[in-house]
Symmetry: D2
């Protein structure tokens, strides 16, 4: 494999090519192939972007049909048949069955862009600047979103410009199991000199992906919503990584029965790995005036075509949902065994997750690295997350075959055993 040009020309900012230093050529569902013809099972799947697998044939067909008709690919935010289909399908298959009533904003096609739009809208709607986010939360790295992202790696690479307008509070479980961290939030809200500017909104992931597969409890999430309602604070669920079925429901907040004021989706939203994002908002929050937030690629038509196809294929009934939950249970059980195995061998480890968003926390980032390196050698692409990369995480395609899932898990087990 020829990699010199890649190494020479690409900025030092590159990351995943360091963990997996091969040149990939093609991919199908949960399998990637490199230039030497070697196949890998993919437990990373675009960090949650390929919930329906690589090159999903149903979705691809819709795209090819559209292209062969010279359908509109790029139209700024003009109206198109593709956009209309998308909105109608979203309403019919996703929103209405869940009792949700939202308007939709199509910002630039990335998660950080959706978050920037969401928090700006919240500020405009409430007339307050502060946005509360949580320890270990990740919501993007453009300067507005970065105010809500906890990682020092990004926060310290701004060339000295501090972020403005965000406050961090402890996520569920952050202070140990005996402390409900929302007590602290509530105390601060009621305290006129506690230093917490009354927030316009809280932005939260129900399961933190980059932060280490931290799972917020159902009761904690319900209480968070309640506190927001009681204090006239908007609740934004950033469902960019946990949404689109990853946790076993289309929206991750369905487990807790929440009705967020604003929702952000991206990553798997297009269903095909195409850049795409939207912001959902309760209709009365739509304070935007024409053009107050813009971007060249808002409402990317090809992505709306594939997103529509994905919804029609997988979300017309609950078959897919139940299948994800079934596979999630398989991974959960196996991860618990692996965590047990690690713990028995002197590496304290715990399993956690929801649906097919699961991880094994091995506490130590170096050990986690060894495991994933070994797995890569053996043909499994799997990554770590958490502040020290201490959590080995599984974000495999939701459409993965049972055989590939088993094979992936077997490789992981072998890798863990090799490390022990």
């Amino acid at each position: 494999m020829q990699t010199q040009t890649l190494e020479r020309m690409e900025s030092g900012v590159r990351t995943y090519s360091r963990s997996f230093p091969v040149v990939f050529t093609k991919a199908q569902n949960a399998r990637l192939t490199d230039e030497d013809g070697r196949e890998y099972i993919d437990f990373l799947a675009g960090a949650g972007t390929l919930n329906y697998g690589h090159n999903n044939p149903h979705i691809k067909q819709a795209m090819l049909d559209y292209l062969s008709d010279d359908g509109i690919v790029h139209a700024l935010d003009m109206w198109s048949v593709g956009k209309r289909d998308y909105l109608e399908t979203l309403e019919e298959l996703i929103l209405k069955p869940r009792g949700l009533d939202y308007k939709i904003q199509l910002p630039g096609p990335t998660g950080t862009n959706a978050v920037e739009a969401a928090i700006r809208l919240a500020r405009v709607a409430k007339g307050r600047h502060n946005i509360v986010s949580f320890t270990n939360g990740f919501h993007g790295v453009t300067m507005g979103a970065l105010a809500t992202t906890g990682n020092r790696k990004f926060r310290e690479a701004t060339g000295g410009v501090p972020t403005v307008g965000g406050s961090f509070l402890p996520y569920d479980g952050y202070m140990g199991e005996h402390t409900d961290t929302l007590d602290y939030f509530e105390k601060l809200l009621n305290d006129k000199s506690g230093g917490l500017d009354v927030p316009a909104a809280v932005i939260v992931e129900t399961v933190q992906g980059e932060g280490g597969i931290n799972v917020a409890g159902i009761e904690w999430l319900k209480r968070l919503e309640k506190i927001c309602r009681a204090n006239d604070i908007l609740l934004i669920v950033d469902d960019i990584q946990a949404g689109c079925g990853r946790t076993g429901k289309f929206f991750s907040f369905e487990h807790a029965g929440l009705t967020p004021d604003i929702v952000t989706n991206s990553k798997s939203l297009s269903g095909f790995g195409l850049p795409f994002a939207h912001v959902l908002m309760r209709p009365e929050l739509d304070k935007w005036k024409p053009g107050q937030y813009n971007g060249t690629f808002r409402g990317f038509n090809l992505a709306m075509v594939t997103a529509t196809a994905a919804m029609k294929k997988y979300w017309s009934d609950d078959t897919f949902e139940r299948d994800v939950q079934r596979k999630g249970a398989i991974v959960e059980e196996r991860f618990q065994q692996l965590a047990g195995l690690l713990s028995e061998n002197g590496i304290p480890a715990t399993e956690r997750g929801r649906g097919l968003m699961r991880g094994i926390d091995v506490v130590n980032g170096e050990i986690a690295d060894k495991i994933t390196s070994k797995a890569f050698e053996k043909g499994l692409i799997i990554e770590t997350s958490g502040q020290d990369g201490e959590v080995v995480k599984c974000l495999c395609p939701l459409t993965i075959s049972d055989e590939d899932l088993q094979e992936g898990l077997d490789i992981l087990e072998a890798s863990i055993k090799a490390v022990i």
Copy 2:
């Protein structure tokens, strides 16, 4: 045409669908078709995103071939054959022939993301926070980029959060023809109490698109580069709208013979309207550590495939360049005539632009609106820009046929006459 769902569900932030309230179905090169089968000539072309026309068949074929092979669509920033081809082609066909030596960063696939990365890199590299941008400049709306974007429409919709780390200076010509605005910049740089924090970088468009097709003079640009060099300030050319051939050269700064320290491209970079962006930087500026700036859709493979095809088709020699210049001259001449016509009829108007980035400034936004509305009635999609929308601008595909170009210009003339 059924538009109720669109009107009901989409946020009030939508813009272009207000000027062109029809539902588009398909498009080929410079022609769009709406659901009623009506055709329009496209002088907007995705605000400079479709330099090679809608559904360019050469580029589309490359994409279809790639898709039929199950090529990698989404791979975060892992290595792929598509990425390697892109880098090699960019180096071979674009950088080397122009004597440019750059490393490349693939940020999120939007212009604002590229600008955020560029200014952050400049700050990190220079250890200073200030970025100078210019009156009427537009560089995106995420909070970091917004510090360099002049429009109040966006700046006042942040929910009260002021932007941090940007200073605006007068663009070429801003203070009338007898004042070289760089005198002011130079005086401020040399003034220890002038209030201008020594900038890490200057970010400039050589022709301001959103700002009203304002064209910086060649000498002004050269002097700007010189001032930057003399003061250890980085020069960032934001070539998102003016690049990729729009002004008659691949990079708009070639006209002035500049060698920017950092370049941002997006919009037409993919060649097919796909979201894509890159940042080019002098190798010694690559101070990024792994992962310090990230994003899910960085290095969108499908876009790299189409971008490669576009470079191979249009930039292997200077045929295309010369053709753009030829068409630019056609538009220039016709716009001068139209400006003269308007002026004779009591509407003072002037023509300006470079290559196929051209406008007629009719001073008054309402008049400009009337002209473009009339044009839309007659089958031409054309937009305005400038602080009051007072400039009727032509950003037609560079690949437009001579017949369509003439027809578009004829419609514009008829529309202007109708308004007079």
Copy 3:
């Protein structure tokens, strides 16, 4: 008493004249006299500014002598005999006996100015922007200091400009008695994605005055210092209200045996109610270049003369210190009785404080107001603090006579009984 001009001309920002709407004419030690000749015992004493009483004769004499000699009153930051005496006395009587080695900065003569200088110095010295302060902390209201001040009253009156560069953490006891709030601080420091930018410094009051006479435990303070040392974070003790003997030691941090990196003093520093402030810093932290922080009234000579006199009179030995502790014990005992009395009568109340900085927390701001209003009727000037003004606080002159102290406490008791 003629108050029309005062009411008409003075801005609505005025506060204390609303609680005590009389015109005062003169004052001696702990007694104030209004224009009608009525006397009041002063348990407010300039909110801790008049530790040595009103018009302290010893200190006044030094000032009169200086003035009669035409001593320099204002000299910017030039050298004067007054300044030299001040520095020598400070070193001899205060620093050396306590084993402290500090350089001194004379900023503008107010507390907020000292805090601005202190946190700016910390940022310059450490090259980091973040300053940690605590819930209910008060460190001044100019924009730099305000980033460390918790009160919404001030934070929401900035015309929408958010403060930059501060993070709030829970003060000792904030999360209930079973939680050591420094666990949270330590966890955040060790967490690479917890959202806490590594701070340049922590700024803390050992007893929070405005925040409600909240007393940090000795062990908590020691641990805070330890955490700072271990993480290369500077420890700033803001001793503006608690310093100059108020807690029974010259510096309030002596109780915990701390050696802060930076100390701010103001309020009682001049000993006579004159505006004055200084910043003490460990010598190696003095990264200031000439004139990098300035102000017209830095090093106010008259105040240095009175400050010197105060040190010589009260801090040559430990007599004064012991007397303050003795009186503190008197107030403590009485306040405990009063808190008991309130609690027995259905108003849950607790006593707290250190030295002569003491309060009764009656939980409810309206009740506290009733008590202090009643006290004012009866001839006692006493104020509340805390986020809701729920703490009746005693900041009487340290030099108060035992008779006046008893009379003041008797009035307070009578007022409380009247409210019950």
Copy 4:
């Protein structure tokens, strides 16, 4: 003279003691005496703080009388006879005769504090964050005020925290004599994408002291006021250095017949070098709620007593004003001669100023330094200002005797000749 303690203990931030490294003991009107008994004529006078001279006997007497009566020295912002006298006298002798109707805020006793209060009030009143200030303007160094202060010395010593909420525009004459810099301001105000956020207020010095005795033209000031009125922008005149008679009128803006919305005074306001400041505001702008801006030393009573005495002595009629103008003319004439002398000897120099706020611009900071060093040797205390310290400035007491004024000017002439 013993200076070791001073050198050892005082922070490196000290400035004036570097230019004048002697220990001063006493002072009378325009004469300072050092510890060796040497006398100096004072052309610095506290950088404009001692308009009525050192230890002015009339003013001192008022202070001594007040002290001997045990008048209230410190009372937070409670009402006192001293405050009432101050307000009444200010209204009677200063405001009414000039047709001004203002409410008064007594912030902390420093200029920067007054500026922080003024710009915050403007933001609150207008609901906008931006404050326009001018090149070479100086308005203080606390973080809020610093956003309006041009000097890099301070701006670069914030430890990397950028200032927020200020925009700098060119002061009168900044772009050469053929450009009216207000054309630029007006163009930016009318430009929706010029990058200038519509300001809440403009803050301006009519003569820039620290900036180099730059004098705004009368017509420029009038036009500035007009632009502000036309655009609903508040006009703040920062009269901290130029006010209290320095330019030959009590307020420096009287020359241009302005009626600012907000005025800040400090420096000579107390008349005796005591820290003191106030903010004057048009009554309808008083949007402050009780206590929204506070500070321990607001309304320093001793300073109000001396300020009242100063007003009564010097501002009951126009005698003093005319005398200042007379002396101003003497300095002006002499400075013109000296500028001519310098220019003839190869050092291009110009005279400028208004009233007794005058300077000779010798273009080069090193030459200016040589002149003032030589002057100090010869017994004259005189400083430089301007971005490079290139302006030798005279800020002698307004009460200076004609003999001392002549002697000072003679020394300056001799020093200049020595340098030539």
